[in-house]
Every structure is written in C-alpha cells, then in structure tokens.
Symmetry: C2
Subunit: 212 residues, 2 copies
C-alpha cells in the first residue's frame, strides 16, 4: 500500500515498484534531502548510498545533518534525460527519471557507521573503499551518518517525443527531444600523483556507471 | 543581513552575494522544491525561471503545486561538476555549485502569469517562446504558476583538487578530480518534423548555455 503522501499526482508517469525506484537511486549522483527546521522546509544536496531498503547520508559531525535524528526526511534523486521541444509552449516538457523516498532519520553507529561510509564512497566510485586504507577512529568520529529506512517511495518517469495539440499539426516547425547527457570525463590527476600512475579501477567503473 | 535559517553550515564554501547565486540559478536545468505538507517534508523536481529577485515554478493547475500558495518554500539548484578522488575515504568529496533560496509561495495571475510561463520555456530554450504561437486561454488556465520572491539565499561552491591528510603523502595512489559533464546533445527530431528542417535557434542557444 502506498500512503497518500507518497503518491505522485500525475498518475500516468508514476511507478511504485521497488526495482524501478532502486534503479534510479543506484544511478544517481546526488540526492536532494528535505527536512523541516523551525517549520520551514530545507533542501540540501547530499551524497548518499542505498543498501537494501535503507538510504545513508553523511556529513561532518558538526553540521546540521546530525541534528536530524528522529525527524521525517524526504530524499529525491532526479536524472534529467532530455528537453522536449514541442510546437506550443504548453507542450514543452522534460524527460526525466526521479525517485522520491520518505522515512525517518536515524543516527547510525558502530559497524553500521563504518559500513555506511564505505557504501557512500563506493556509490560514486565502485570499489574505491577497498583501494584505500581503513578510516581512523578520529575520521569516523568526525563523520556522521544518518540512515533513512525507506517507508514509502515513488518514481516518476517521462520518456519519448512531445505530445502535440492536433490543431498544431501538420507543422513546419522542428520538434523533438534534445538529450541531456551527464557523464564522467577523463580524470585529472593532482600534483601528488606519481608520473605514469594509472587511474584506479574504481574510476573506470564509475565512468561506466554514470552515463545517461 | 542573512537570516540564520539561510546560513550555510560549512562557512568556508558559502557565498551570499547575489551575482554568485543568480549565476547558479540561471544555468541550472532543474530545481528541487521543498515544502511542508501535513508536517512532512516534500521535495519535488521542477522546471523554473528567475526574473529579477523572483523564481517562477509551473505545473498543471490540478497538481499539488497550486495548493502551495502562501506556504514557505525552499528551492535548491545544484550543479555537480566533479568527483574528488583522495588517498583516504575521509577526504573524498564532490565539486559542485548549489544555490538554496527561501521564500513564500505566491499564486501568479494575469500578465505576470503569461510572462512567467514564457520565462520558464525560455530558461531551458532561450528565445523559444517567440518562435511559437501564443498560449491559448485554455492552456493558460490549465497551467498554474507559483512565484517565490526570494527572501534569503545562499550559495555553496567547492572547486579544486582533493585535500589530503599529510600522513597519507607522499603516496603511490592516483588522486585528482573526475569531471562530471552535463551537456545537451544533438536534437532528435520527431516524426512531425518536415525533412530538412533545421533545429531552431533556441536549441542552439540552449546547447551553448547548458554545458559544465
């Protein structure tokens, strides 16, 4: 059962199956995290990772994030895939996939804490955490993790060419879709990288993963 | 004066000058709109446009959007520009620009309504509205617009290579930045486009505008 607050208002684009929602979450680069502070909505972009039915968010322990423990959260991951160019302003649109998930913030500790931090690193760079030394106790202490156990979620997906008003057809105007491409470029090594060092395997995996 | 709720918690990356904030808003493809519904945070991706100190959002009149009139909103526009690859999980990061704006939703009518709809179309495809017939009364009625007169805003920007723990240097590991590139591809014309029709000028302007 999808609770009313999690239902998409434009029914024809809505999906509620877990596979569709997870596929969007797992290929998104950034999540937009919504919470309520003093009655006011706040939306912050954050790195994240999904493990099973849980999303993990991290941030410096001293930031606003850790104060969210116990609060309701909404995390939205959006992938824009095209601009839809029609013969009328009214029928202009965008192609996109988005997942909207709801749950309550839960402060993460102990083994789950370290596991979640690895998962967040590995979400952007698959396998990166195993290419590196482990985190120190001080680093773990300085980095807080909030879990959101997904209580309800929906996805919205639009694909395909413009819809048109029949009165606008036939037309001499160009119409169609302009792809929005998001991809990782070639890594730019920093000054500490020894000459001739190849980028890590995790970077190649990320380049293969994040392309739309 | 920046009110406390609009202050970024990581001070070193924060900017409050209008030019920096407007530059991010004006080159973003999608905004994430936060509001509170029944005490619960909601975050929805939306097309938008900025005119002076006002953001406009639009949606079908029958959707949740028009019920926001009078409510507090937070709109966040994020451009991810790189994945920062360090020698420790702790120092992994992302390069990004984001603008977070706060204000109250105001239902838009009459001339401002039509002007705002043109601005939203022209934000994604500069000049597109003047390439098309005007909107009909029925189309205007079916499309609601909410304005957010910006009351407070902040920007956060991270650029540059990884920071490292001195204990991790010198290192044999690769470190640096992987660019995240977002750009518009070649337009794919639909079946209604007469053979040989060139894409409109607005599309070429969009291709020049949205590249990072």
């Amino acid at each position: 059962m999808v609770p009313d607050y999690a239902k998409a208002r434009q029914g024809k684009r809505a999906h509620y199956d877990e596979a569709a929602i997870h596929a969007i979450l797992d290929t998104g680069l950034v999540g937009h995290v919504g919470f309520v502070a003093d009655g006011r909505p706040m939306v912050m972009p954050m790195a994240y990772a999904r493990c099973g039915g849980t999303l993990y968010l991290h941030g410096a322990s001293k930031t606003r994030l850790m104060g969210l423990d116990g609060l309701k959260l909404c995390v939205t991951v959006t992938q824009l895939t095209g601009i839809v160019v029609a013969r009328s302003s009214f029928h202009h649109s965008v192609n996109y996939r988005c997942a909207v998930v709801h749950g309550q913030a839960r402060k993460v500790t102990d083994e789950e804490h370290a596991r979640a931090l690895d998962a967040i690193t590995d979400h952007l760079l698959p396998g990166r955490s195993s290419e590196l030394r482990g985190m120190t106790a001080q680093e773990l202490k300085a980095t807080g993790v909030i879990a959101l156990d997904i209580e309800a979620a929906s996805a919205k997906i639009r694909t395909g060419p413009p819809v048109e008003d029949p009165a606008d057809l036939p037309s001499t105007l160009w119409g169609g879709v302009v792809p929005v491409v998001t991809a990782l470029g070639t890594g730019i090594q920093d000054a500490h990288t020894p000459e001739g060092t190849l980028p890590p395997e995790s970077l190649r995996k990320a380049q293969a993963k994040f392309i739309a």
